[in-house]
């Protein structure tokens, strides 16, 4: 119960302050007004449309980052030559904030939707790849040795020892990558899209329809929280034996 007190107090104070004009209702409409609009936008389907579009972009970007990220990360972890071959190039591109790739990507791919997804995939790819690589490198050497002694080689060694051992790291990479992709999708929508939650957020601010801005903000927050919750549930189900290993850097 205690956790709910603080938010409830804040909302209550806000409601009173904007109802009495202590806060300017133009900028800070009453929470009850925002809630009413939220319900209305859910009822007429506009909010779900925006949410669906953002989710679709997020999903495409995430898949574009996750699949090559895991494959390249595994390869870099297992083969020293691959790692040394790719590392200098990656190290240079990784620190460039993803949003900046938008111009470059939109030159290469004229379709706007594809450009948004590819842009949002960039940095997440590196996060997934590097976390996976670290996971392979941190595998217990004794376990690998033991597996080799028992005759596990090639694909069998990979499937029964390497992959399960790396799963926790892969999962951490995917979790971080997903969070990151959400940031970039929203940011790119703010800059360069006409629809989607980020676009609603930015456009409604520009024409000062602040209620709509708050509705979009609440929805983005709920989306972020729901994704985090879902990923945690998934982790407990898929790899119950392992703790989340937390962040590792490149």
């Amino acid at each position: 119960m205690i956790p709910l007190i603080l938010p409830a107090l804040v909302l209550g104070a806000w409601e009173i302050a904007s109802a009495t004009g202590l806060l300017r209702p133009v900028f800070f409409p009453r929470p009850s007004t925002i809630a009413t609009l939220l319900v209305a936008q859910i009822a007429d389907g506009t909010l779900l449309g925006q949410l669906g579009l953002t989710l679709a972009r997020l999903a495409v970007a995430f898949v574009l980052a996750a699949v090559p990220g895991v494959v390249v990360g595994l390869a870099m972890g297992m083969s020293r030559r691959t790692r040394e071959g790719l590392d200098p190039l990656f190290a240079l591109i990784y620190p460039i904030p993803s949003v900046l790739f938008l111009p470059l990507v939109s030159f290469a791919l004229r379709a706007e939707e594809v450009a948004v997804a590819v842009t949002a995939a960039f940095t997440s790819f590196f996060i997934v790849a590097y976390t996976t690589m670290t996971g392979v490198q941190q595998l217990d050497r004794t376990v690998l040795e033991a597996a080799r002694h028992f005759g596990a080689r090639g694909p069998r060694l990979f499937l029964t020892v390497l992959l399960p051992g790396t799963l926790p790291a892969i999962f951490t990479g995917l979790r971080l990558g997903l969070g990151y992709t959400l940031i970039v999708v929203v940011a790119v929508e703010m800059v360069g899209a006409q629809r989607g939650l980020g676009a609603q957020l930015w456009l409604s601010w520009q024409i000062l329809r602040v209620e709509e801005m708050y509705v979009a903000l609440v929805t983005v927050a709920a989306l972020g929280a729901a994704l985090t919750w879902g990923v945690e549930r998934l982790r407990r189900r898929l790899i119950p034996w392992a703790q989340d290993i937390g962040e590792v850097g490149a």
């Binding site: 460039i96 941190q138 969070g179 703010m190």
Partner: protein, 246 residues
């Protein structure tokens, strides 16, 4: 050796493709042209002005975030009631992409530096506070016990035992926070500000000055690389007692 091969191949391939108009040189100018632009960019004042602006925003945002995030994180990690009170709010706000708060801060603080810097500071703050709290909450209790047994109390216990034990997590939080702050500053500049490296790239994009755009791009990458490598070296030095596996 092998590390240089791939970038060289890519650059050579790009050069040939652009020279033979296999890709449009207007959008993908040959690397030699970009290199020339790079020289011009480094000698012109424009780039340095924008770079300084970005660095100043980054520095202020990072300082604000660190000064607020580290103490709060330590408090949450060490003192259970504070953690109980704040954790739900933190857990709710942590996954929110903070860029989405930019319009709100523009309303609260007006269109200007305050809102730009604050958005980046909030992003870094959550990362720093969360990492620090996690580190402080998982300090080996045996270390604290041992410290107590040797007579460390209050401030001495904090300085000699708790702080060093939490330091790895604090430094990791600071490093990740700095990275996030940089990304947010650049994104905010790209979207809303009229100066800084993010806006420089945006400007070149709008004017289709692609050579300059790629050159600025490369410089931002090099700056980021320098910053992350530098921080990593710093972390290793500060935590000389820790084992590094990679």
């Amino acid at each position: 050796m092998i590390g240089a091969a791939l970038p060289l191949l890519l650059v050579a391939g790009w050069e040939i493709a652009a020279r033979t108009a296999l890709v449009s040189p207007r959008y993908f100018p040959p690397p030699t042209v970009i290199a020339a632009m790079l020289g011009r960019l480094l000698t012109a004042g424009e780039f340095w002005g924008d770079a300084l602006t970005t660095l100043a925003r980054l520095a202020v945002a990072f300082l604000v975030a660190a000064l607020a995030g580290v103490p709060l994180g330590l408090g949450m990690g060490l003192w259970r009631p504070l953690r109980r009170a704040l954790e739900p709010a933190m857990a709710m706000l942590y996954p929110l992409p903070k860029v989405a708060l930019l319009p709100l801060f523009l309303i609260l603080l007006g269109v200007g530096e305050g809102a730009f810097v604050f958005t980046a500071a909030v992003t870094a703050f959550f990362q720093i506070a969360t990492s620090t709290a996690g580190g402080a909450a998982t300090i080996d209790p045996r270390l604290v016990e041992a410290g107590r047994n040797y007579g460390a109390r209050g401030i001495a216990l904090f300085r000699k035992v708790i702080l060093p034990a939490a330091l790895p997590a604090v430094l990791t939080g600071l490093r990740l926070g700095l990275g996030l702050a940089l990304i947010t500053v650049i994104a905010v500049e790209f979207v809303a500000a009229k100066s800084g490296l993010g806006h420089l790239v945006f400007r070149y994009w709008q004017m289709l000055l692609t050579g300059e755009m790629y050159a600025a791009f490369l410089l931002i990458g090099l700056m980021g690389l320098g910053a992350t490598r530098g921080l990593r070296a710093l972390q290793r030095r500060a935590l000389a007692w820790q084992e590094w596996r990679h």
